[in-house]
């Protein structure tokens, strides 16, 4: 691109129609480039080309996923709670007459592989700005992480960096981390997944819009200076497949985040919203000014004029296209009535935050960008933001699916003696996916704000929203790539069911969904098929459960060479608790309380943690999903929390009943005396991963009431034993004992030890 010496203006573009342009290097296809020329009636300027390449990238335009994501809109149940849905920065749901909550998950996978700490940190920063842009105060974060094998040397580079980045950013902005998940699987070796969720709360009246409306209104850039961070990041970094040999070529300069500035952004924006000084607001995310300018202009009613030289710069010699493409973090765009502009600037200044008027809203219908008086961009904003290419890419069921389906884990050799089963319980508890995650969660602040009611290691995070009423929310983030590999439709629904159940286990009523869809290359028909199946699974599932998908994120190209990751839909479910004081915690209650299992245990071992840990096996058909059952279960748990008839509850998922008992014992410090039901096969009962099951602890005297509440809903409940402070660990009658020390020795301290710390 060095052939351009002087600034490439619209005039120059008109005069030099045959200039060769690097559209292909910027990731555009030839027909896409031709369409740009048609839209403009000339060749694009360099700045315009940069903007189109960014806005039409997979990351920004959703060009491969759009046709499928439509299902969410079509199948979403209608609910008066939904105040803003898909297409906004984040979905907004009403909690009560006054409060609304907004939440969203987003991926930062590729950047976190290149530079784990900063990649993960800026992922958290980005999702927090989406929450601010809706008008909400961010109140918590969560993280869903997937790495390669725990013993792989690169995991020792990536994992500590990612955790450090998430922790550092979240801790410095002052947001409690209330949960997440961490999994290891070789399929993520070259493509770790870093998905971050943020949730915010606002008075319903503070909901903001991203429209640049009102001719004459001022466009203000708020926050950090603009530097050369991640230029080309969106088109090259976020969308290009890492080639096995040379990931170096794809390495653009990475972004470094500054959580301190982000904290100021939160405070300033909320102050401005509360004082009603802002007409429109948009965060600057992956595509920087390009995206913010074109989206606000496209959502507004006219056009926009920007004088780009007014943008405060951090680096010398930045050209207009660099400024437009820069991914410098911690910036927001505000649309402000000119009469209020001075006050906006003054309030930002009071917090020590930079704020600069860079343009105005016009009625020309064009987005015009000047640089030192020369016009470098003159485009219809909708052509950038809304009218990008849309592909209906070919789909094909993977050839190996039939073979995989018949290779069932139920036929694998199993432990048979009591001693073998006992050892299996311990081996599983010590395995990377099931072991205690304190090494990670202790690096996060979980209590700042003083509203965290439940954090890790609970099934869902619970946060109080209002100290007077006690109203609060519960959120869980779940995914299972192995199940989705076996059957993406069912796998997605299993993740949905698990997140839904994890929320329900706290006593909360699930009300909304956000998702992050992590897949391989959309240009591979097999991947595209997996994607379509997963989306359909989620859309059908949410329709059935009666809770809408409010937003989410798609991350494609998670593959190294031809090897794609397991399809990994990660689902976030949000629930409401009328009074957080009634939440149901993890644990074992008190001595004499009854331990019981709600749900049905079938022989379902395919895709299970046991098959993976003990046999390195992945095959067969994932467990059945019964969403009717899940709804009844959620209704039951919410009811029992309101009547305070449960002392504790814990979802059964990876590792089955054995793991749930290990976790409850280790967390509570209590012991459990368990007697398996007549005729149950101990191995199956302990390790099957049948869906829809919850371990509950019933206070003395409530057994009959709980049983009849189950029966009236047609939910099977099986008493398993009693909690007992005098029992050391797990006593499985007629089979074996495991002391609490043995449990802790297996379960705790594993992550650090295996990372060599």
């Amino acid at each position: 691109m060095s052939q351009y010496v002087a600034v490439d203006t619209v005039g120059v573009a008109d005069a030099t129609p045959d200039e060769k342009q690097p559209w292909s290097e910027l990731g555009l296809k030839e027909d896409e480039y031709q369409r740009i020329r048609e839209v403009l009636g000339r060749r694009p300027t360099q700045s315009e080309l940069a903007m189109y390449s960014i806005m039409w990238s997979e990351h920004c335009s959703y060009k491969s996923s759009k046709v499928h994501l439509r299902q969410f809109g079509e199948k979403n149940p209608r609910t008066p709670r939904l105040l803003a849905g898909i297409g906004e920065n984040a979905g907004v749901v009403a909690i009560d007459d006054h409060l609304a909550v907004t939440f969203k998950v987003e991926s930062h996978n590729h950047p976190s592989y290149v530079e784990p700490k900063q990649g993960a940190a800026t992922g958290v920063g980005g999702i927090i700005r989406d929450i601010i842009a809706m008008g909400a105060r961010p109140i918590a974060v969560m993280d869903s992480l997937r790495f390669g094998a725990i013993d792989h040397p690169d995991t020792a580079r990536v994992l500590p960096g990612v955790v450090d980045g998430i922790g550092h950013y979240g801790n410095c902005v002052g947001l409690p981390n209330i949960g997440g998940e961490t999994y290891f699987d070789p399929c993520y070796q070259g493509n770790p997944l870093v998905n971050a969720l943020s949730v915010g709360v606002m008075p319903r009246s503070r909901l903001q819009s991203m429209q640049a409306s009102g001719t004459g209104n001022v466009v203000i850039l708020l926050g950090a200076k603009t530097g050369r961070d991640g230029i080309g990041g969106v088109s090259v970094l976020a969308s290009a497949t890492f080639s096995e040999s040379g990931e170096d070529d794809a390495r653009p300069s990475v972004q470094v985040g500054d959580p301190f500035t982000e904290k100021l952004l939160i405070e300033v924006c909320l102050e401005l919203f509360d004082a009603q000084l802002v007409v429109g607001v948009q965060d600057l995310g992956g595509a920087g000014l390009t995206c913010a300018l074109s989206e606000t202009a496209a959502a507004g009613d006219g056009g926009m004029h920007v004088d780009l030289e007014l943008v405060p710069l951090r680096a010398a010699g930045m050209e207009p296209q660099d400024i437009l493409a820069s991914e410098s973090q911690e910036r927001m765009l505000l649309i402000v009535d000119p009469a209020k502009a001075d006050e906006v600037l003054a309030r930002a200044h009071r917090w020590g935050l930079l704020a600069t008027a860079i343009g105005t809203v016009t009625d020309t219908g064009r987005l015009v960008v000047d640089f030192h008086g020369q016009t470098v961009v003159d485009v219809p904003p909708k052509s950038l933001a809304d009218e990008g290419p849309v592909y209906n890419r070919p789909l094909a069921e993977p050839n190996d699916l039939g073979l995989i389906a018949v290779d069932r884990a139920e036929t694998l050799p199993r432990p048979s003696t009591d001693e073998e089963i006992r050892q299996t319980v311990l081996d599983m508890a010590a395995s990377p996916n099931l072991c205690d995650k304190s090494w990670i969660t202790e690096q996060y602040d979980s209590s700042v704000f003083g509203n965290t009611v439940l954090g890790a290691p609970h099934d869902a995070g619970v946060v109080r929203l209002d100290e007077r009423t006690g109203v609060g929310i519960a959120i869980s983030l779940d995914g299972n790539g192995r199940f989705a590999r076996l059957d993406p439709y069912l796998g997605a629904q299993l993740a949905l069911a698990e997140a839904y159940r994890n929320v329900a286990v706290t006593g909360a009523t699930p009300i909304a969904v956000s998702d992050c869809l992590n897949f391989g290359s959309p240009e591979d028909p097999h991947v595209m098929w997996q994607f379509e199946r997963a989306v359909t699974g989620i859309a059908d599932g949410c329709q059935k459960l009666g809770i809408p998908v409010t937003g989410g994120n798609v991350s494609f190209y998670n593959q190294t060479g031809r090897e794609a990751i397991h399809p990994t839909p990660v689902i976030g479910v949000l629930g409401v608790l009328e009074d957080v004081a009634r939440r149901i915690p993890l644990g074992l209650g008190r001595t004499g309380d009854t331990i019981a299992l709600i749900g049905t245990t079938s022989e379902e071992l395919s895709g299970s943690e046991w098959a993976s840990v003990k046999h390195g096996h992945l095959g067969g058909v994932p467990p059945k999903v019964d969403l009717d059952h899940e709804m009844k279960l959620a209704d039951l748990l919410s009811r029992l929390s309101q009547t305070e008839q449960l002392a504790a509850a814990h979802d059964l998922s990876q590792g089955g009943l054995a793991q749930a008992l290990v976790e409850a014992i280790s967390f509570s410090g209590m012991g459990a005396q368990i007697l398996l039901p007549e005729g149950a096969d101990p191995f199956t009962y302990l390790f099957s991963e049948s869906s829809g099951r919850v371990l509950v602890v019933i206070p003395r005297g409530q057994e009959l009431a709980v049983r009849s509440a189950c029966e009236s809903r047609g939910l099977p409940i099986t008493p398993l034993g009693v909690a007992d402070a005098n029992t050391d660990g797990l006593h499985l009658r007629d089979h074996f004992d495991i002391t609490r020390d043995d449990i802790d020795a297996a379960f705790k301290g594993r992550i650090g030890a295996r990372l060599g710390e």
Binding site: V114, E115, Q118, A224, G227, R228, D229, R251, S253, V254, Q255, V256, G257, D258, F260, T261, R314, A315, S328, Q329, G352
Partner: protein
């Protein structure tokens, strides 16, 4: 004994939030003439009596351990009086 100093600085195009914060605080000390502040690491490595190839070894340490090549660059200086190569 050889002493080597490795200086590790963020690459110039990378944001240095620490430097920015210090720059912002200088006026309160009455200092107003500063254009930029960048903060990096200074690492002092003391080699043993009989260490060989001190500079080369330091480069390896800097490259593999002290600096993150994605965002940082480094310089290695063997201090005078050191018995480099001895």
């Amino acid at each position: 004994m050889a002493r080597v100093v490795v200086d590790v600085m963020l690459k110039s195009e990378i944001l240095d939030p620490q430097g920015e914060a210090v720059l912002g605080a200088l006026p309160r000390l009455g200092v107003t003439d500063v254009a930029s502040v960048r903060i990096g690491k200074r690492v002092e490595i003391e080699f043993g009596e009989n260490a060989q190839n001190v500079e080369e070894q330091s480069r390896v340490i800097a490259d593999q351990l002290l600096a993150n090549p994605v965002i940082e660059s480094f310089t290695v200086a063997v201090e005078r009086g050191s018995n480099e190569g001895a």
